[in-house]
């Protein structure tokens, strides 16, 4: 929302420009077709899903009457998608919380404190920012096994929190916070933890939100690591649950897969609609600095 100043002066568009804008909007709509299809299909009975043209265009009244929660019933009742959703929420939530905790403490030290080895350590952290961890899935699994963290949600949550990007992003934000605020607190006798908790964290909320969003997208959507780490059924996250449903070769539960996919896709989309600005800023954050 912009402030209600005098109405923004928008140069009048020529008809050609209007046509261009209309064309772009049409392209945007077509671009979203797969998602609109997903939305529509997850509320349809299985028999209506694979029809063309979609029933929505063929027979609107019947299509509207035909909406049903049947596929969700199958997904939740028979395929435990509700439990997988819960596991995904736990993993994503704790992953984000742990990330924010360890990276913000670390960034605090790099932003405000002088210590031997500071530059070298920061360079080391930056250097690990783009390490392709997927190439190391086998040794990663072995390290987790020696720590007893395979088939364990902690084996996902704890490694997720190692975000070198997070340390970088937060430190860049922290160095812009006026030091006078901290000096004040120091003269009042506050220690570093106290300053971190009651001054720096509240002031760096936008950066924390940006980092939380980047992590949210990554953790919620991760597939390869949960697949290699989780063995038992009740620990499956949503993407793994969907993969398991899809691996049924006999009577593949298409409608349950589609509604589970819809739920998996819906969560980040809702967050995006609520926090569009933070999303864009969080992802563009790596570029700005």
């Amino acid at each position: 929302m912009t402030k209600p100043l005098a109405p923004r002066r928008i140069p009048p568009l020529t008809p050609w420009q209007w046509a261009g804008v209309a064309l772009l909007c049409l392209v945007g709509l077509l671009y979203l077709y797969p998602l609109l299809w997903l939305l529509d299909s997850s509320f349809r009975p299985a028999v209506d899903i694979f029809q063309f043209p979609p029933i929505l265009f063929r027979d609107l009244p019947a299509a509207l009457r035909g909406y049903t929660l049947g596929s969700f019933r199958s997904a939740f009742g028979h395929w435990h998608v509700g439990w997988a959703f819960f596991v995904s929420v736990i993993v994503t939530g704790s992953g984000i919380a742990l990330t924010l905790l360890v990276t913000s403490l670390c960034a605090y030290a790099f932003a405000y404190l002088e210590f031997p080895g500071r530059r070298a350590l920061f360079a080391l952290i930056l250097g690990t920012m783009m390490l392709p961890m997927t190439t190391m899935i086998t040794p990663f699994y072995q390290v987790l096994r020696s720590l007893g963290l395979t088939n364990n949600l902690l084996g996902l949550i704890v490694p997720y929190s190692v975000s070198a990007f997070g340390v970088f992003l937060l430190r860049q934000y922290y160095i812009k916070i006026p030091r006078s605020l901290m000096e004040c607190a120091k003269t009042e006798g506050a220690g570093h933890l106290r300053i971190w908790w009651s001054i720096i964290l509240p002031l760096s909320r936008p950066a924390l939100a940006a980092l939380a969003i980047v992590q949210f997208r990554g953790i919620w959507n991760d597939f390869l690591f949960p697949m290699i780490i989780l063995r038992s059924d009740q620990l499956y996250t949503l993407p793994i649950r969907i993969q398991v449903m899809d691996s049924q070769n006999f009577n593949k539960p298409y409608e349950a897969i589609i509604s589970a996919g819809f739920i998996t896709a819906l969560v980040p989309m809702v967050f995006f609609l609520l926090f569009q600005r933070q999303f864009i800023e969080g992802l563009a954050g790596g570029l700005k600095e």
């Binding site: 923004r8 140069p11 568009l13 909007c25 945007g28 671009y31 979203l32 797969p34 998602l35 299809w37 063309f52 360890v102 403490l105 670390c106 605090y108 030290a109 790099f110 404190l113 002088e114 210590f115 530059r119 350590l121 690990t128 783009m130 392709p132 997927t134 190439t135 190391m136 899935i137 086998t138 040794p139 990663f140 072995q142 390290v143 704890v158 490694p159 929190s161 190692v162 340390v167 970088f168 220690g191 570093h192 919620w220 959507n221 597939f223 390869l224 290699i228 993407p239 969907i242 070769n249 298409y254 996919g261 998996t264 896709a265 980040p268 995006f272 864009i280 992802l283 563009a284 570029l287």
Partner: protein, 321 residues
């Protein structure tokens, strides 16, 4: 930091060893310790362990014996069964990555450029959101959606082709020559909006007075694009090309899910490098040593590609670290 002049304190300092400087350094180590410990265990040690395991014939939970560079030899030239598979994975992965860069980057830039010229902020934000949305969706879901769309009899692609009176009974997922184009196409849909956002962010940092001045000098829009916009966009191009190459070279989820039953396309034609590693390490034989060697080779390939790209494109603006 220059330390402030010694303060006139009343009486002798109580703890001469524990100066302010030293306490600060100690607190700093305590603050960075949790993150650094995790980084050490879950990133750096993992790579070291991988290097160690790659020199053994480890299999599953069996640690195996030291066999030198045998696994590397097997993968790169000695074991025909593996080398064929490996080099095909190298080829697939590179073609896929090149296809992604060649399609996504130019279109993303054009989209960003066009969106940036729309003088209606609301519409601009909505369109940006629309193109960005696929970025948020789980690749597993995207792969399954597109698998349904590419279905021979029930997929929308063939239906639309039929409406246009084009050949409409291709079984897209069963033709080996289509495997790579399909992967590139799906990735195009998924990632173009992501790059567009970076381009848009950078476009908006360009000072509009530059264009004003150029207009005074009688520059055409084409000139402006070529002489002002593109040079100033170089950091965004570098960033997008390097990160999407790093991502593309690690592609796994999409190819694993797009083709049914983890077949990686008809006859496995579209098996990528990470899929190769996964197959060696986590399929029937659990060849941990071979998988670790393949992992290190892939890691070195990715590092080399990034280094070459940075060399050619020029380093992006680094933070003042």
């Amino acid at each position: 930091m220059p330390s402030p002049a010694a303060q006139p304190l009343a009486g002798p300092p109580r703890r001469p060893w524990l100066t302010q400087k030293r306490t600060d350094a100690l607190s700093a180590y305590a603050l960075v310790a949790p993150f650094l410990a995790l980084l050490l265990v879950f990133n750096l040690y993992v790579f070291a362990r991988g290097l160690h395991v790659s020199l053994t014939d480890a299999q599953g939970i069996n640690d195996g014996d030291f066999i030198g560079l045998q696994n590397y030899k097997d993968v790169l030239w000695a074991d025909p069964l593996r080398t064929v598979d490996f080099y095909r994975a190298v080829r697939t992965t590179f073609l896929y990555t090149l296809g992604c860069l060649a399609t996504q980057v130019p279109v993303a830039f054009v989209l960003a450029y066009v969106l940036n010229t729309i003088p209606l902020p609301r519409i601009r934000a909505v369109l940006r959101g629309a193109f960005f949305l696929p970025v948020l969706i789980n690749t597993v879901v995207i792969a399954l959606l597109f698998r349904m769309f590419f279905n021979k009899d029930q997929g929308i692609i063939n239906h639309v082709l039929g409406l246009l009176h084009l050949p409409s009974n291709t079984d897209w997922l069963l033709h080996s020559e289509w495997a790579l184009p399909l992967l590139v196409l799906v990735s195009f849909w998924q990632w173009t909006g992501f790059h567009m956002v970076y381009f848009l962010a950078q476009l908006q940092t360009i000072d509009p007075t530059l264009y004003e001045a150029a207009r005074m000098d009688g520059a055409t829009p084409w000139h402006n694009l070529w002489n002002i916009t593109l040079p100033l966009m170089r950091p965004a191009f570098t960033f997008v090309m390097v990160t999407s190459a790093i991502g593309g070279l690690q592609m796994f989820d999409l190819v694993f899910m797009l083709f049914p039953n983890a077949t990686y396309g008809p006859g496995g034609v579209a098996k990528t490098l990470v899929a190769f590693i996964y197959d060696q390490g986590f399929s029937q034989q659990f060849l941990t040593g071979v998988a670790s060697a393949a992992g290190w080779i892939t890691f070195l390939i990715i590092a080399a590609v990034s280094a070459v790209q940075l060399r050619l494109l020029g380093l992006g603006r680094q933070g003042e670290a």
